[in-house]
Symmetry: C2
Subunit: 288 residues, 2 copies
């Protein structure tokens, strides 16, 4: 049976690095959340970030606006927050209300402060492997979990199922930048089981409960690290894309849902804010 | 033996589309080349573009500068050309002389005029599948050749060997956007022959003569379209990455070097200029 990779364990290591960096570099990292309205899921998400940031000594400023805010007003706010040297990172809660042009707002975020790869310039940095860029936090959390699992990316065969802009594509690009051989599968892939043959790294980010069956899992390498990025609800319970029991029988290591990738994402976000604060203070990049 | 896919034949079809579009929309497309100095290869490249553009009725303006031009002067020139409404596209000849900051120049090009995906915003558009964007001409030429060969991209297994920013990555992203299942191989890939198993589309863009041997080619699908983007010189003769005879024995269709992808690239460039001119005139995108 596969070893279970707990996100909290991987996050703990990153948190230690963050604390050490903040102390040794005397940083006062600060991130702004831009939130329109106050729906329950946004508030829960914000609470999770606040708890994590509080424990790490990272400042969080909430910029909350009424749903009636105009496009122009919100744009002015983004520009104002961009220009504030005391704020190192920005996270805009999505989706924005329908009356607002989300892609225009995204494009206004200074890429140096874009903590979750929302603006086009950040995507360009991702493709171009520009060390100034910040990858989407969830995608980077996948990499962090693989690192925690001791994966040697170089020449590894990685199979990424899903090609969304927030997870699938960035995970594939990050794996490629680490010299893995990457295959992207998706809903149009003809023989998914066959495509997973000998996978050393299997990442599923489809949002389809039970998609990764025993039939698929049996093709992966016995040393495979299987990372489940799916978030689904089945019979009222949260689950991932994996048939967990089936994948566990074939993989060497597996991430659970909940408690896997999701438990690392907020800590990657914190690491981004610390990197941005370091860059602002020291003028150079920090590997964190 | 594989059918040989001549670039000139694929280009002819695109040229017909270009002529029809220019006529029916009464366009006067115009592209600027920004060239520093006048080395032989730049001059030859420029002549190739001019011949093609002349035959299609596309205006070409050459902005030639001395190698001694300063960064600031060149930046002002790019800004000036960006602002000229009579110029629909810009192509900067690379590499720039060492004293110039190429990435800064690239980032100044208006993405609406960036004909060969040089600026970061164009890369972002490529990843985000933004229809306003222009892919690198050579990468798009690969797709055009596959279309000419009658490839059904949907669910096809594509193997791209090489991951450069100008060819490998963009070709993979373009294939992915057309619903192919894409595997990226490169110098760190462990068993290239095995990775090519059942490939319906095989693209090599490594710049390594004879890299694709019989041992690799024997794994591809009998219906495979094999596209060679390599440009190498062996014994004084130009050749691609394929062992042409070996790949010919296993593929259904194959592009030669020279006379394959290279013969389509300039026509894709022309199509980009026409698309940009149409967009400037009509305010909407043209599928060309």
């Amino acid at each position: 049976m596969a070893q279970i990779l707990k996100g909290a364990d991987a996050a703990r290591i990153i948190k230690e690095e963050i604390r050490t960096t903040i102390d040794s570099c005397s940083l006062s990292p600060c991130m702004a959340i831009i939130r329109i309205g106050s729906n329950d899921s946004d508030i829960a998400y914000e609470r999770g970030i606040r708890n994590n940031f509080d424990s790490l000594g990272i400042c969080l400023k909430i910029f909350e606006y009424q749903e009636a805010i105009s496009q122009e007003e919100l744009e002015q706010e983004v520009i104002r927050i961009n220009a504030d040297p005391g704020i190192h990172g920005i996270l805009v809660f999505r989706p924005l209300p329908r009356n607002l042009d989300e892609s225009r707002i995204a494009s206004l975020i200074d890429p140096a402060k874009d903590m979750d790869c929302m603006c086009p310039a950040s995507f360009a940095r991702l493709v171009m492997q520009d060390p100034d860029g910040y990858a989407p936090c969830t995608a980077e959390a996948v990499i962090r979990l693989c690192e925690y699992a001791g994966v040697d990316f170089d020449g590894a065969r990685a199979v990424v199922i899903g090609r969304s802009l927030v997870i699938g594509k960035p995970v594939g690009l990050l794996l490629l930048s680490r010299n893995a051989t990457v295959t992207w599968c998706h809903s149009h892939t003809k023989d998914l089981a066959k495509m997973c043959r000998d996978a050393d790294i299997l990442v599923s980010a489809c949002g389809s409960a039970g998609l990764i069956t025993e039939e698929i899992a049996q093709h992966i390498s016995p040393s495979c690290v299987a990372v489940d990025v799916g978030i689904n609800f089945k019979d009222g319970k949260m689950c991932g894309d994996f048939d967990f029991d089936a994948v566990s029988r074939f993989a060497a290591k597996i991430t659970p849902v909940p408690g896997g990738v999701g438990a690392v994402t907020n800590t990657v976000l914190a690491a981004h804010v610390v990197r941005a604060a370091y860059k602002a203070a020291a003028g150079k990049n920090l590997r964190l």
